[in-house]
Amino acid sequence: MSESKAAATNQGFGRVLVVIYAIFAIGATSRSVIQIVSRFEEAPIAYSLSAFAAVVYIVATVALGRGNKTSRKVAYVAVGIEMAGVLIVGAISLLFPEAFPRATVWSDFGRGYLFIPLVLPPVALWWLRKTE
């Protein structure tokens, strides 16, 4: 169970990554709580998806921040789900706009969030590989 410094995901650039993930986790969580509490019936699928995305961001934030062997695996899974999510939801929202009458963080490949949701998972995957 040795934890070498070089292998930790929460050092150097990883700290900046953790902060970006943390901001997304806070933002996505608070937004989806408000959406679900105040107007869930308007777009149940979109708002459920927002909540799911929020949970993924929270898990990724904590996993990247912990920086040990187990958390690395968890981070791979969370970032992988995030990558799949932004690609699949992004594609669906463009091809079938009526499926998501309200925007989610992953709609249009994260355009409403300056495409950061699209850029973040490959960067995180790169970072996880690099620190392995």
């Binding site: 050092q11 150097g12 650039f13 700290r15 902060v19 901001i23």
Partner: protein, 119 residues
């Protein structure tokens, strides 16, 4: 909510981002003036929150009030978090964190203005 004060919050955020970006490039750890600047930024957002809530109470317009207040109350906490982080992280990453937060805050102001406008 779209007046000169809101514009000033955007400018201060961008100045701090630029400042931290320079430190990042010249590999200088976050120093005291930059730490204080983040507390100033937090203070500006407290003022923005008070002003925004007062403005909201004075209007009957249809806007997502819970969302608006949520954004206003949460936003000052982000620069406070960055200040605390940069105080404890003397590595280059500390400057990186301040840079990110400096860029996030103007985006938040734009988002708050969108909610205010009822988008």
């Amino acid at each position: 909510m779209t007046g000169p004060f809101a514009t000033a919050t955007i400018v201060v955020g961008l100045v701090i981002a630029l400042w931290a970006g320079v430190y990042l490039v010249i590999k200088r750890p976050v120093d005291r003036p930059l730490q204080v600047a983040q507390l100033v930024l937090a203070g500006i957002f407290v003022v923005l929150a008070i002003g925004g809530i007062v403005q909201m109470l004075g209007t009957d317009r249809d806007l997502a009030r819970a969302e608006f207040v949520g954004y206003l109350l949460l936003s000052p906490l982000i620069p406070v978090g960055a200040w605390w982080w940069s105080k404890n992280d003397k590595s280059r990453a500390g400057s990186g964190v301040v840079l990110v937060v400096g860029l996030v805050m103007p985006v938040l102001v734009v988002r708050i203005q969108q909610v205010w406008a009822g988008v």
